[in-house]
Amino acid sequence: MHLEVRRRRWRLTLGLMAALLLGISVAATGLGTVPVPVGEVLRAIGDAVVSGVNRQDTNSVIVVMLRLPRIALGSLVGASLALAGATLQGLFRNPMADPYIVGISSGASLGATIAMALALRFSLLGLGAVPVFAFVGALGSLAVVYNIAREGPRLPVVPLLLSGVAVGAFLQAIVSFIMLMSDEKLRSIFLWLMGGLAGSTWTDVRAVLPYFLLGSGVLLWQANNLNVILLGDEQALYLGVEVDQVKRWALAAASLITAAAVSVSGLIGFVGLVVPHMVRLIVGPDHRVLLPASALGGAIILVLADTVARTALAPTEIPVGIITAITGGPFFIYLLRRYRRARSI
């Protein structure tokens, strides 16, 4: 199939995925302890857009103040994780890479754990201590990993992965120690580490959105260069790509959106690892379509998973990270077997 034809298919696929995300979001907004019919959902959204939220109207409050921000945040977090995962898998030419591979998760965990253990109470731009500490921790651990791995201006892949693992293990040990020392906070720390979207607000959405827009903008701008880097670092140099610059941009962008997502949702696993693989099966390896399609796919998956998380055992919430891990794990094994079969042909 030639490129012109494929481009048309790319646009079609992205359009369909966007429509699917929209449909799922509307349907999911109606689901919950108090079911709201689709017509009501649309009316409430329309009213809110035109004249603001009517606090007397229960459906309107449920839809606009409780469920929509959670679905919007779920979309953003899912999109961020899958986008970052797709980027890092390509950048490292390693199918096992996920958004957490360079130590972001453990840095965020440590930040969040400290904030919770010390019961810090402050607010920055409407965000509480936990997300702020998680964000700072994530970027801090990234900086450490990056500086261990880099050799002058060069950023070799293997040292980056290894130092990510090493720093991660180190930080994780500190997290475990703090958890042991603070039994009354254990549950809340544990819940955060599992990842969840309960209690999301529009403030969270507003906090994450700029990072997502900035990061995904940078990544889409570098999509073509990321394609070339898939051929190998040296090969990319010969094609005129400033490989180390591209790597720094992509790593920074992917880490930033991951850190922002993690800070408001905790550690949601498997979305960033599995979704890019699923999407690659459909659209192929070209980053110009893989990145936006992964973002849409991540959003769809996380909104679906979160809907299960809050409705399956209602009124009890299951942390969404458990849902993604329970479904993502077996699915990843399925992909693995599929890949292996394909290669043995």
Partner: protein, 415 residues
């Protein structure tokens, strides 16, 4: 001829010991330069520096008058295309996708129909048209190599640098790739610089060669200047025979197997070659380590060329002249020095009949004479019976006759 790339006193290193040291090299526009040398001699390292994947510790690489360091990578990629040795292709891009990536340095945003035309052109040159929408992960080694070359061609480079473009390929694909490069060099005036593992391919296709050893240039020049027994043995440390290709006239290199039985040190034999018929025997004798003298030969005879290319002692006479009495005596002189005189089944005419007379002279003195008779003498007698008559006299003088070259060689080696 202007220099397109100048390597100026360049030292290259991966950290500790220099891989290339103080190397200077001028590459002219339109050159087909082969870089040869043993493993670890710095060939690939030098190539990487010319593609600016490696920064010189000292010295400069200059592209059309400007230091490579001062040219944006993108601009370099418009002029220099590189085919590295290893090309991982683990993602399911199509052939067309990968070749299109060669347009990267020229692209501003999305590719234009002009870019696509150049991609199709590059694929056509490399015989990839049918494979355009195949995933590269499904290609054979030869096909992948052609994809990488097509990708480099899509860059429309003035200079093409290749690191062992034919390694891992069978001989059919080897000559296919090398002919493609020769065509590009000739028809599109692309300057080609290729690290080549195979000395015979290098000698056949490259117009100039540099021979590297331990990060320095051991020899540079035309193939026949660089590929000599002495220089190749000095670079590679193993014994070879350097001959001349029967069709192209370029030097050929044959490795002498160290396991083959070897002649005793200083074992001298004299070979009565001629008519271009004794080349194989000559080569075997040299390979086995005999000290061979040859005569009498006409200058320009292919046996003469071969003997000369091995640096043997040869009695020669101008082309199309006959052996004189004086030549005969010189020949007899050489034969007396040899332990065995070998008379291969070469044709005899009036011009070289005196060679037989010379053999008869030493045979009657008791010198061992071994004759090869794979082709009977009557069939190679162009003197109307004179040669046959002389040969009968030789038989009566007690020469040994072999019907097979290998037998003769074995007998000689067992002396």
């Amino acid at each position: 001829m202007t220099a397109v790339i100048t390597v100026e006193n360049v030292t290259l290193s991966y950290g500790t010991d220099p891989a290339v040291e103080g190397l200077t090299l001028h590459i002219s526009r339109g050159d087909f330069l082969g870089i040869i040398g043993p493993n670890g001699s710095g060939k690939s390292t030098l190539l990487r520096a010319m593609g600016r994947a490696l920064r010189p510790v000292r010295g400069r690489v200059i592209l059309e008058g400007t230091d490579l360091e001062d040219i944006p990578r993108r601009e370099i990629a418009k002029k220099i295309g590189v085919v590295p040795q290893e090309n991982p292709m683990t993602f399911d891009f199509t052939v067309e996708d990968v070749v299109l990536m060669g347009r990267t340095p020229h692209l501003r945003g999305q590719e234009t129909p002009e870019d696509m035309r150049k991609v199709r052109d590059a694929m056509a040159m490399c015989g990839l048209k049918e494979l355009a929408s195949r995933p590269v992960t499904q290609l054979s080694g030869g096909e992948k190599q052609r994809v990488v070359i097509a990708r480099a061609l899509a860059q429309e480079p003035e200079v093409l640098l290749l690191d062992e473009p034919t390694s891992h390929l069978d001989i059919g694909h080897q000559s296919e790739i090398m002919s493609l490069l020769a065509r590009l060099n000739r028809d599109r005036a692309v300057t080609v610089v290729a690290v080549l593992h195979d000395l015979n391919l290098a000698a056949t296709y490259a117009g100039k060669l540099i021979l590297m050893k331990e990060g320095r240039i051991l020899a540079a020049g035309r193939p026949e200047e660089v590929i000599t027994k002495d220089k190749i043995e000095r670079a590679y440390g193993s014994e070879v025979i350097v001959g001349r290709h029967p069709v192209t006239g370029r030097p050929t290199v044959t490795l002498i197997s160290p396991d083959r039985p070897r002649a005793r040190e200083g074992f001298q034999v004299h070979l009565v070659a001629g008519g271009g018929m004794a080349g194989a025997l000559l080569e075997s004798l040299v390979a086995a380590g005999f000290e061979v003298s040859v005569g009498v030969l006409n200058v320009g005879d292919s046996d003469w060329e071969r003997a000369r290319s091995y640096g043997l002692e040869v009695i020669d006479i101008p082309p199309f002249t006959s052996v004189t009495q004086a030549d005969l005596e010189r020949n007899v002189g050489l034969m007396r020095l040899a332990e065995v005189v070998i008379l291969p089944d070469v044709p005899f005419g009036w011009g070289n009949l005196r060679n037989l007379e010379a053999v008869l002279t030493v045979a009657q003195e008791g010198k061992p004479v071994w004759a090869l008779e794979e082709r009977p003498v009557a069939r190679r007698d162009f003197t109307g019976g004179e040669a046959v008559k002389l040969f009968r006299k030789l038989e009566r003088a007690g020469i040994r006759i072999f019907e097979d070259q290998e037998q003769l060689l074995q007998a000689l080696l067992s002396l």
